[in-house]
Assembly symmetry: C2
Amino acid sequence: MQEIDVLVSEVGPRDGLQSISRIMRTADKLRWISALAAAGVREIEVCSFVPASLLPQMADAAEVVRGAAEIASLRVLALAPNLKGVQAAIAAGANAVTLPVSASRSHSQSNLRKSPEEAMDEVGRICAWRGSLAGGQRFVVEANVATAFGCTMEGPVSEDLVIRMALRLARLGADAVGLSDTTGYANPAQVRRLFSRLRQELGNKVGGAHLHNTRGLGIANALAALEAGVTTLDASQGGIGGCPHAPGATGNIVTEDLVFMLEAMGLRTGINIKKLIDARQIILEALPGEPLYGHLPDAGLTKGFRPASDWGETHE
Amino acid sequence: MQEIDVLVSEVGPRDGLQSISRIMRTADKLRWISALAAAGVREIEVCSFVPASLLPQMADAAEVVRGAAEIASLRVLALAPNLKGVQAAIAAGANAVTLPVSASRSHSQSNLRKSPEEAMDEVGRICAWRGSLAGGQRFVVEANVATAFGCTMEGPVSEDLVIRMALRLARLGADAVGLSDTTGYANPAQVRRLFSRLRQELGNKVGGAHLHNTRGLGIANALAALEAGVTTLDASQGGIGGCPHAPGATGNIVTEDLVFMLEAMGLRTGINIKKLIDARQIILEALPGEPLYGHLPDAGLTKGFRPASDWGETHE
């Protein structure tokens, strides 16, 4: 596999699908995931291990992980809110788990039914359980500070608090700690400032940036994260997604537009944009009429576009 | 008037209205312009002085300039493709003229029916005419290199050529030379690189960045321009606009989202976002059903939002 400069981590099958009420069939999810992997996407958050009573869209989480785990080129991530979910994800074959911990107390209660402290304790339990496993069963733990840039219920969130939580999560054993703009509150100056501090404090344990486009600043925030040294950016194909527990928070940044920006800037993602755009068709077939976002798919590549990655094709 | 850090130059009444086929009534244009000025917008490109046979939407250019010129707080810009247009703009009371010169030969021919050299010669004639006026009649000349980041007809545009043209325009007498991503081809690395070079070469004669959101990178490109020291950013309320002669080039960056980004970053624009959003209503009344864009107007300000500018109101 060719080297890459930025890891675009696709979260559509998790963040996207959990935010719409319709349910995508398991076979369609796997077809979509395969098409994304074939386009060069190397990491996909494929599902969330939460009770089906809460999120029926994710009832097939184990089956989706099992199917995705068969794709050799793919790093399969699953979101899990607790140890039980993590154990199910690992049993199904996930390579890594994403553990959300909210900086906002109100969001933490409504999203996880736990205080931030309880959510962090759970991360400690998960890392302790991982420590008890044989070497071959180890997996990667990615913690994520949610509502790190502000909260629809609480308003501004203390940057010191976010950094303290990130440090604690790293000490508890998380391999990486990322920051999420769950609510679409972030601005580029804030993103640059917080990720720069995180990098100073955590070094190579700095995780990814999970950004939403609620107020139109998603891609600018991604640029700011890059400038602060972030090398993993979450995005959702077609921009579907959001957080059902954060009212008004609509839509991750669009994978197609993000990959276009990165490749145009000379940053290799390993992703073939043409094949990526083709994969939209699978969503449209599986969920007819579902609104998809993104400017690049409508406008098309620029004339004479030269990607940074090798797309394995000759350019005219 | 309070100091500002970034001048947001509204181009909706020109770039926006010329790109849609419906015609806004003169009285509505002036009502819209007044509302924008009342929201704190300090500069508006109010029209284009081109033959009404080509752009009937701009047939009332002189009347619009005369009306706008009555607003004391407003710097009234008019676009003009030639000396005749400039003379009409100045006679009507414009404070400044924008003179577009295309870096792409094909775009120059289709947009101005002139070669780039002929368009630059025209700028020379305009500056010479200005030099012949009495001091009190002087006006500001802003030249703009269009298709500076790529062209739908020609593809990539030479950065050296863009810089050479900008230098020539400054030598011919332009007070400022800006760069336009007429076609929505720019990426943030390119914007930063080109404006940094322009700044090195032109010093304080660097003009504004005119960016389109065709491929979703408009606001990220604005951030990159800021980082390169640009302090004037064009934007269009509701994102209406585009270039009728550049197929596929749709929509300027959205003023509402841009102002939100700047104010959230701590950069003063002097613009009250609430009043800015209220001004959308005038467009919707004047052009019922016209699609307007922008994320902020839908999502609303963040809870506890503190603008950098003084909005003359108490925050809860």
